[in-house]
Amino acid sequence: MKRASAIILLVLLVALFLTGCWDRIDIESRAYILGIAIDKYPPHPGEKEKNDSEAASPQEEEKFEKMELHAGDRKYAMTIQIPILKKAQTVSAGTGSGGGGGEGSSTWEITQIGSSFISMNREILSRTNLIPYYEHLQVIIISEDVARQGIEDVLDFFVRDQEMRRRVKLFVSPGEAKSILDVKPRTEDFSAMYLAHIPMNSTKNSRMVHEVDLGQVINYIHQGYDFVLPRVEATKDEIKTSGAAVFKKHKMVGWLSELEVEAFKFIVNRFLGGIIVTEISEEMAAETGENGLISLEVLRTKTEITPITEGKNPSLRIDIKVEGNYAEEINIHTHGRLRKEFLIKAEKQFAKEIENLCKKTIRKVQQEYEADIFHFEHIFRTKKPAYWKQVEKHWEVIFPELEVDVNVEVEIVLTGIIK
């Protein structure tokens, strides 16, 4: 009896290990996809020509890029960026091989053209010895053409697959998305990693949209909210992200400029820090001279939006409180004379600057794009639920006509380390 149970236990234990090393793929035999660029296919005629002149033998390359399809049309071109670890300077820490660095690119961009993203992903397996691995995916760059068609279909695979992470950052590129992955940044081996780190500077620069990751965007899409995504542009060896793409539902409708992004971040209370520059007022000019410029380094902001439903038409009041550092002055000289009265005037001037910017931006978004990227809808829904029920169906009509009052208060709390 004892012996029998021992044998049974042993068999059960062995069964535990009989699965072998299920799912075991060693770390070095995976292809770490760092970035994905999604372009429209076929590209615009103009762009196609550019491609032809650059690639050595376009036909031959395209032979691999185009896959056989079960169904559908070749609508998308997906480019993945995988690192070539032997050539990457930042990672090959003297294994006695190659010596790190080396010539040629440290990344490999593989393009696949097809109808569905999962089939393109698996088709790539026929072209690499490594197995694509998405858990370290940093960025997805969507070209404007694709974004204008709508991104819900594009993102479906990236949120459905179990290997995907919700913290992937999304960007929209006005030109070809692949060109951003092709950039060779100077301080980093992989352009995708480089790009993914730029939004972390948003505590000091307010002109880019930060914290728009895949999970959040999918939430917005599913709840029917409008939203913005950061815009990214590239030259041959530089990447710049600033400004934003405006999405109505899941389709892109236009762009916000750098300054408009600043205003957007003030309104939605996501301004982490940045610089506001303004001209001095006439009153101040009398004291210090003409044509002065003063800069405010924003340290803290707090925005409160109050819906007002009394009266004929609904309206909103936006109160923005800004605390900042009197950071710089150009063409004026207040050395040793920086008095409280002057600072109060400066505060007013900064407030006026921010107020104008916000009002202009709101008007543009209301009238040009009719997209509620500020989520005013949410304010009404949570703060005036009864009223929201009445207007819910007409919101599309109400939003562009919504009266918005912006009040900005600026307080200068520091004047730097000189007076």
């Binding site: 535990l16 290990f17 699965t19 072998g20 090393c21 299920w22 799912d23 075991r24 793929i25 060693d26 770390i27 070095e28 995976r30 770490y32 760092l34 690192p83 670890l85 032997k86 990457a88 930042t90 990672v91 090959s92 820490a93 003297g94 294994t95 006695g96 091989s97 691995y133 858990e135 370290h136 940093q138 290997e163 992470r165 990693m193």
Partner: protein, 530 residues
């Protein structure tokens, strides 16, 4: 236990004697009861000891009547100055002076009491009336004195043999604290305990174990603190030991522990008298074995093995930080290689991207899977450690340098292993030394291997399974009725004062509840609120 017994294992003795009949054994040559004749008694000792060169039989005559007397002792175990100055001098010379002063001769029937009462100038004497008992004392280094006309033998204590002096314990060094450690002599060790605790309630009971070795084993406890059931249990378990020899307390430990199959030690081992007394005062029982400088303290919980002697001597913040470090260290030592293998083989997504890429780059030229690599390196480091322990100290250091630096570097350069693996193995090796208890550290090192296998075959899922299994095993262990994982499991909040964090001494006014001490209060206190 008797020292002279007939037919110790009758069954096998019979079978063996049929094949090869043995010569008459000592026990059967002579009658074992003592007689009144010195000559006959001496014959009985000689039956056993005559062939041994270190046995000394000294016959002499007492007083003017010339009463025959004899001494039996083992040379080397006795202090000869005592024999010369306090036994022979008194019996052979001073008793004659006494006789002449008094003017009467000591006759045969008064000889025994005269010797005992007037001639022996030694404090510690015993009167024994069986050969067995006398033999036991003689073999322990005392002197048997026979006087004609009495069937009793006087045992004179004259023990004195070469001993190692008290030195600093090597396995439990401290920066702050007493530097003395136990030695191989039981009596010296008990003296060290008495020096540390003058409470007359401290009981030192001795039994002898081992059919042939007759090793003295002492168990020590403080009456009025130690739970009586615990003392009884210790007595019972010691009594069950049936072996022919006991050389070291490690043998006793293995006989009395609760789960001999477990890799985890269930008895605390220490070389330090201060730790032993601290244990006694908590209500535990210490077991000292003659010829072994290691004392055993029971019961012992897991948390004992994380405590260093210094924890109570250093300031409490320092001790608390160090103890926390030891707990973390033991987890690192046990689970790091398995977790590493699991992450490398299954879940690179756990790592930050830069690190994943860096590890992938360093592993690009390694031909083995992470599992083989880990086994290879872990085994190498165990080999180095074992070699270092066996070699003389000076060469041991050299081996450490060769092993640690040269082999590690060469293995990476040769493409057998990745630098990350070397780092993991080194970290594991170092952290496994942070655990003060040597035997507990070994246990953690052993369970690392099955965990690596689990990690390599089932990933983090396997490592977690392993963690759960280890924990189930630990909470099910008991040591002399005490839960091994107390005060964690079962949770005993009042004992947490001296667990991972050691609170200042003013908070530690009660003894740990987990030992069920008879007296819970270390000092006078209000009654426990219920």
């Amino acid at each position: 236990m008797k020292i002279i017994e007939k037919k110790k294992n009758p069954k096998n003795l019979k079978i063996m004697s049929e094949n090869d009949p043995p010569k008459l054994s000592s026990e059967e040559k002579v009658d074992l009861t003592l007689s009144k004749s010195v000559e006959e008694n001496l014959e009985k000792f000689k039956a056993f000891l005559e062939e041994s060169s270190d046995a000394v039989f000294r016959e002499f005559k007492l007083g003017s009547q010339g009463i025959p007397c004899a001494l039996v002792y083992i040379d080397g175990l006795v202090d000869k100055t005592i024999i010369h100055n306090h036994i022979l001098k008194g019996l052979m010379y001073e008793i004659a002076l006494l006789e002449s002063k008094r003017g009467d001769a000591i006759d045969l029937d008064k000889a025994f009491s005269a010797v005992k009462e007037h001639a022996l100038t030694v404090a510690d004497i015993k009167i024994k009336d069986t050969l067995d008992e006398c033999m036991k004392f003689v073999m322990s280094g005392e002197v048997a004195l026979m006087v004609e006309g009495s069937d009793k033998i006087i045992i004179v204590s004259a023990r004195g043999w070469p001993t190692r002096s008290i030195s600093e314990p090597e396995t439990e060094g401290v920066i702050r604290g007493p530097r003395e450690g136990f030695t191989e002599t039981l009596r010296m060790n008990t003296a060290l305990l008495r020096r540390k605790c003058k409470d007359p309630n401290m009981v030192i009971k001795t039994i002898s174990l081992g059919r042939r070795s007759k090793t003295d084993v002492a168990y020590v406890y403080i009456k009025g603190i130690a739970n009586e059931e615990l003392v009884e249990e210790v007595e019972r378990r010691l009594a069950t030991i049936d072996v022919d020899q006991i050389m070291e307390s490690g043998q006793v430990e293995q006989w009395i522990q609760d789960s001999p199959l477990s890799p985890f030690p269930q008895v605390q081992v220490t070389e330090r008298p201060d730790i032993t007394v601290a244990g006694l005062v908590e209500g535990r029982v210490a077991i000292l074995v003659d010829n072994s400088p290691f004392a055993l303290i029971v019961p012992a919980g897991m948390y004992q093995f994380y405590q260093s002697p210094e924890d109570h001597y250093d300031r409490w913040i320092i001790s608390s930080i160090l103890r926390t470090l030891r707990w973390i260290g033991s987890l690192v030592a046990t689970f790091t290689p398995a977790t590493y293998v699991a992450i490398i083989s299954f879940h690179p997504g756990f790592l930050p991207t830069q690190l994943a890429l860096a590890i992938a780059a360093t592993r690009a030229n390694v031909p083995f899977p992470a599992f083989i690599e880990a086994l290879l390196m872990e085994t190498t480091i165990e080999l180095l450690r074992e070699a270092g322990a066996r070699l003389p100290k000076l060469i041991g250091q050299t081996i450490g340098i060769i092993g640690g630096i040269i082999i590690g570097d060469a293995a990476v350069k040769a493409g057998i292993t990745s630098p990350t693996m070397v780092l993991i193995v080194a970290v594991t090796a170092i952290t496994s030394f942070i655990i003060p208890s040597y035997s507990a550290a070994i246990a953690f090192r052993i369970i690392r291997y099955p965990l690596i296998i689990l990690g390599a075959s089932m990933g983090m899922y396997g490592v977690m399974l392993g963690f759960i299994v280890v924990n189930i095993h630990l909470v099910s262990l008991k040591s002399f009725g005490m839960n091994y994982m107390a005060p964690q499991a079962p949770l005993i909040p009042q004992d947490w004062k001296d667990f991972i964090i050691r609170l200042p001494h003013s908070f530690l006014k009660r003894r740990p509840v987990q030992y069920y001490p008879v007296d819970i209060d270390r000092v006078d206190q209000d009654a426990i609120k219920r």
